[in-house]
Symmetry: C6
Subunit: 76 residues, 6 copies
């Protein structure tokens, strides 16, 4: 796969949260590389509450990693 | 998306817990940006015990991050 | 919501575990504020093994946070 | 509830793992206090692979807490 | 139960991963002590993708613990 | 099993993420050693949104471990 993740460092928490979303999506993409299939699945899971909560959970786990990597964006 | 997360710092644990709830909700919103669709799903998952427990779990994971970012609100 | 969480500090591990239970319940309450609806759901999930295990998992995650906040109640 | 958790300290990793099991069980007991109901559920979930894996997961999460509390039983 | 866990220390990451598998299995064994029943469940869950992913998740959680206990096998 | 995991150290975050994927896959392989059976399951779970999200979650958990092992690839 081409380069997509250069660093876990972000300027602020919100960009960190958005990086966590990217990580969650990449976990799916590596498992299902076909964009066509992923696009077909989208209307279903994005209108299913349980899937949305599950997606939010994967984001939360990745956000823990990104936040730790940024020392929680604490001003030093 | 507009700016919604400036800092992980909160004044006290309860505000930290409420920030964790916001993070859990944002994970859903980024995955399903349509407010209309999210509102339609709400009556279903909010009256389903398994979904409520799953939502509480995502909040718990985000609360770990927020609590660590605030050094657990320990008085120093 | 009124004040319900003043501190993550507890006198001992058991009170910490009980605070973790409160946090798990609060995650549900914020998501479903109606006490009436929550009470209606209770007989179902509390007699369902999978839901009980899921509830125990949310408690376990919150207990990690509370235990860390108390430095694992280590005597110093 | 009577006193059941005095300390997270254990003599060795195996006792720590067994404490993690106790914590997982207590999470269930606080949610469903009736021993009668819990016993009725046991034959079902204990012969269901998904439930057994879910139970093992709650134990694993609690074991993280107990292991950290014991500094991983490292000899100092 | 007889002694099965003497230490969380392993010689290298791979042995650590294999210890994580043992921990995941032990979580199941403590919950369902009958080897006969566990063997009967095996053909089903080991050919079910969702169960295999769930098993891999429990291993991943235990591997976090084992890796931390070994300071990630960093050369000092 | 032959040697497959020599170190948790990677050159950069992306390789770390890819190692996390390997760990997630190995968790499945140890549980179901038959490559033939695993290949048969692939078309199903890789076109199922819930399974893909679950797989991404296992990757996220393993990525936490790999990231910590690499001190989040911080430049020192």
């Amino acid at each position: 796969m081409e380069k997509w993740l250069g660093s876990l460092k972000t300027k602020n928490p919100q960009e960190g949260f958005e990086l966590a979303i990217t990580l969650a999506q990449k976990g799916v993409q590596y498992t299902q590389p076909s964009e066509k299939i992923r696009k077909k699945l989208r209307p279903k899971y994005s209108t299913n509450a349980k899937s949305l909560i599950a997606a939010s959970q994967v984001i939360a786990i990745n956000f823990q990693t990104v936040a730790a990597a940024n020392n929680y964006w604490k001003k030093t």
